[in-house]
């Protein structure tokens, strides 16, 4: 592939992100548009923003790569990523919006009336955010290496620099527009090349080089345990992702928060059609990528390989642009919500503190990303989901639906989950790749129930610590808002 193409696409997307971040709102309105300006964001727009923020490197590159490598088993990833929103819709979206708290630490402090719980939750949120940024940076490193031939660190560093500059310099004061733009960019960037490739293949009558086996690895399909564990991680993990939850506050009330979630389900379903198709196409027409260890780059390489020429270059540029949109938007969203949490708990919420926190939120994961290397984006993001599901999710679900939750129970649950899930990750590393037993490689199936059990047991043991405000908070969470006074 022509290196200039990748470089150009990257620069264009970075510039567009920064420009929209800074100037997206500079389009001044006059009083005539007052009503438009003071109306809240319509749900479909907000849904696009959530989609833009949620579809990360794992979805854009990782899913197709996994399908190329392991066939239908990999389909569980898109299913889980999407179905997590069903859980969000059913159990969390509306009550959380009604709570009036803006971050998960805010929510826990209001619900449990305890500063200590707030601090522990903040720690967990920051840990999850950092862990989640790392795979994004790996994706960027991979994309830069494949498309331009530059060393890997350039990609991760460039993404961090762009994000730091935009967030710390006071851009992203209205992140919804940026993220909504990114969703449609990502969708176009995946859909157009796939459709184009299909058309070219059909018109040339190219014969597939390989059949489309259900399970190409020949290692025997993954067992039921792995599937269940993965699904538990993805379903429950989505509930606790800090950058996704923040988006719901842009909705004016609980009902529109539900509607937004419903639209997100639709948008994600449409999106995941295309990585799946890419994976299948790669399996049939470019099976050699699986052997050369470049599976995650499949989406980037496919148009150049199958179409070629100027059209191929243009399509590649589009895909690279989409990939960087994915890295930038997810990283941006995470950095913004992390720096909100860090600046409030560490720097007292000043403007300067927010900038410092933004740099901190982006630079620490960069360090991790530069020290490590990965080949399986979807897998490592899956582990972050497992960690979230074992720590934040029990607190959030029980906090919303069970009045018996106490601060001691919440802390016990989070620490249990963090210890078990984190311990499994560390143990898995020490044993080396491929040697770890299945239950260590996919800890969610036991660490999530354990965290729930710990939360419930300790809460039952400390019944006298149930906060006095529980009735008030619960009714606020669950009673529908009174209709806004019908003013014209």
């Amino acid at each position: 592939m022509n290196p200039a193409v990748g470089l150009f696409a990257f620069l264009a997307v970075s510039l567009a992100t920064a420009v929209i971040g800074f100037y997206g709102l500079r389009i001044s309105r006059t009083t005539g548009d007052f009503y438009v300006a003071s109306r809240t964001v319509p749900p479909w727009w907000n849904a696009s923003a959530i989609g833009g923020e949620y579809l990360s490197a794992a979805s854009f590159l990782g899913v197709a790569g996994l399908i190329l490598l392991s066939g239908t088993d990999a389909l569980w990833f898109p299913v889980g990523y999407t179905a997590g929103y069903l859980m969000l819709l059913l159990f969390v979206a509306a009550p959380l919006r009604r709570s009036g708290a803006y971050t998960i630490p805010d929510f826990t402090e209001a619900r449990l009336d305890s500063k200590l719980v707030r601090r522990v939750t903040s720690l967990m949120v920051v840990a999850v955010g950092w862990l989640y940024i790392v795979p994004q940076l790996h994706g960027a490193a991979l994309a830069i290496r494949i498309t331009t031939g530059l060393p890997s660190w350039v990609g991760s560093t460039a993404v961090v620099v762009v994000v730091c500059l935009t967030v710390a310099a006071g851009g992203m004061r209205s992140i919804t527009f940026v993220q909504a733009f990114q969703y449609w960019l990502k969708l176009t960037a995946l859909a157009v090349p796939v459709v184009f490739v299909l058309l070219v293949l059909a018109s040339n009558g190219t014969q597939p080089q390989a059949p489309l086996p259900v399970n190409p690895t020949g290692q025997g399909a993954a067992g039921a345990y792995q599937h269940i564990s993965l699904l538990v991680a993805l379903l429950f993990g989505t509930l606790g992702l800090p950058h996704v939850l923040v988006r719901f506050y842009t909705n004016p009330d609980g009902q529109s928060a539900r509607r937004t979630t419903l639209i997100v389900l639709g948008l994600l379903s449409v999106f995941y059609l295309f990585p799946t198709l890419s994976g299948a196409l790669g399996r049939m027409f470019a099976p050699e990528l699986a052997q050369s260890g470049q599976a995650d780059a499949l989406v980037l390489l496919l148009p150049g390989k199958l179409v070629g020429g100027l059209a191929g270059d243009l399509l590649s540029a589009l895909v690279v642009a989409g990939a960087f949109a994915a890295f930038l938007s997810t990283t941006c969203g995470l950095v913004v919500s992390l720096s909100g949490v860090i600046s409030q708990d560490l720097f007292g919420g000043s403007v300067r503190g927010f900038r410092l926190a933004a740099v901190l939120a982006a630079v620490v994961p960069l360090g991790f990303a530069l020290m490590t290397d990965t080949l399986a984006l979807a897998g490592s993001v899956g582990l972050v989901f497992a960690f979230t599901a074992s720590t934040i999710c029990p607190l959030l679900l029980l906090g919303i639906w069970w009045r018996g939750l106490t601060d001691a129970g919440a802390i016990a649950g989070m620490l249990t989950g963090a210890f078990l899930c984190g311990g499994a990750m560390v143990a898995g590393t020490l044993m080396g790749p491929g040697n770890a037993p299945v239950w260590l490689a996919q800890p969610a199936a036991w660490s999530v129930p354990a965290a729930f059990a710990a939360t419930v047991t300790v809460s039952m043991m400390t019944k006298n610590r149930v906060p006095a405000s529980v009735n008030r908070v619960m009714s606020r969470l669950h009673v529908p808002e009174r209709p806004v006074a019908t003013e014209r």
Binding site: V134, S343, N464
Partner: protein, 398 residues
Amino acid sequence: MPDSPLFTAAAIAVIVLAIAVVVGVGLKVIRSFRDLGTDAERATYNTLHAASRAGQHLRGGLHPAGAAKASKQLRVLLGCDALAITDTDSVLAWDGAAEELRPTLMRLAAEVLDTGRTVVVPRAGHPATSDHGHHDFSAVIAPIRAGSSVVGSVAALAPAAGAGLVRATSEVADWIAAQLELAELESSRTLLMEAEVRALRAQISPHFIYNSLNAIASFINTDPARARELVVEFADFTRYSFRRHGDFTTVAEELRCIDRYLLLEKARFGERVQVSLRIAPEVLSTVIPFLSLQPLVENAVRHGLEAKEGPGHITICANDSGAFAEVTIEDDGVGMDPEHLRSVLAGHTDGDHVGLRNVDARLRQVYGDEHGLVIDTAPGEGTLITMRVPKSQPDHDA
């Protein structure tokens, strides 16, 4: 998949955590070896420390949660085997041994609550329980008096109730009563603040009503349709500003109110008032004090543009800024003298800019002193007013 950076990241996290624990324990050990003065000094410190910690828990009044935490500290203070705190009809907290006596305590305390005198009950333990190898406890029960009435009691249980324990227990009961009085003071201070906020609740200025009605009157003959429209706007505006319920509203509703206000002002000033808006949708649902933006816009029109020749421009911005929402209102009018403004905001000068002072005072009351209005201005240079409120306000309902 197991060879992912997450494992490494988690490993590093665990190591960092381990180091933190070791350092923390080390510091604790070192501190315990530090010279902390004579035994008497240490005893004084321990007593006062326990008392102040217990006091914090009682600052919310007599509640089971606070009483439970306080009773732990107080039991150490008295050096008895069990300590209980009751209100007038139930046992709020029990710390220490012989919890099986809890149901009988209210019966024993009835006399204390009735007469308001300290009572010593020798052998408070039920004969049946002492057969099971329990100690035979004596109880000292002292009343907690608030003003002239008894609001609860403190019971100290020990194998033998000497005069020392009796004296100490009634002192503790008096001390708890003092804490409760402080709690009451605290809550009346909160009430006072709420009342103050309610009193400060902005009202629309009489000038504005007078001017608007005059402007509408001038249209009745020349443009009846517009006059009718303006009357409806005026009605909507007053309905919003006279509403009774709630001290809080959302940025979106406040903006709608400003829209109506400006429509009415435009009827008077025509094209002399130009307004542009830059609103981030994220902050539209942020909760702010009722009528806290409209007075700022009114100030910009009244003191910025009215005195100026030619058209004036007002820019209203709302931005997302981390955990805060930031609203700025800027005009290119005649500006103000900063010294004069300072004395107005401090409440030394009456007259103009009352709206600004009112909003500033309410913001400080509700969110603390660091959230007052920030005003950049100079004569002839226009005015920029910035307001920063936390987005997360679970206690405030719009």
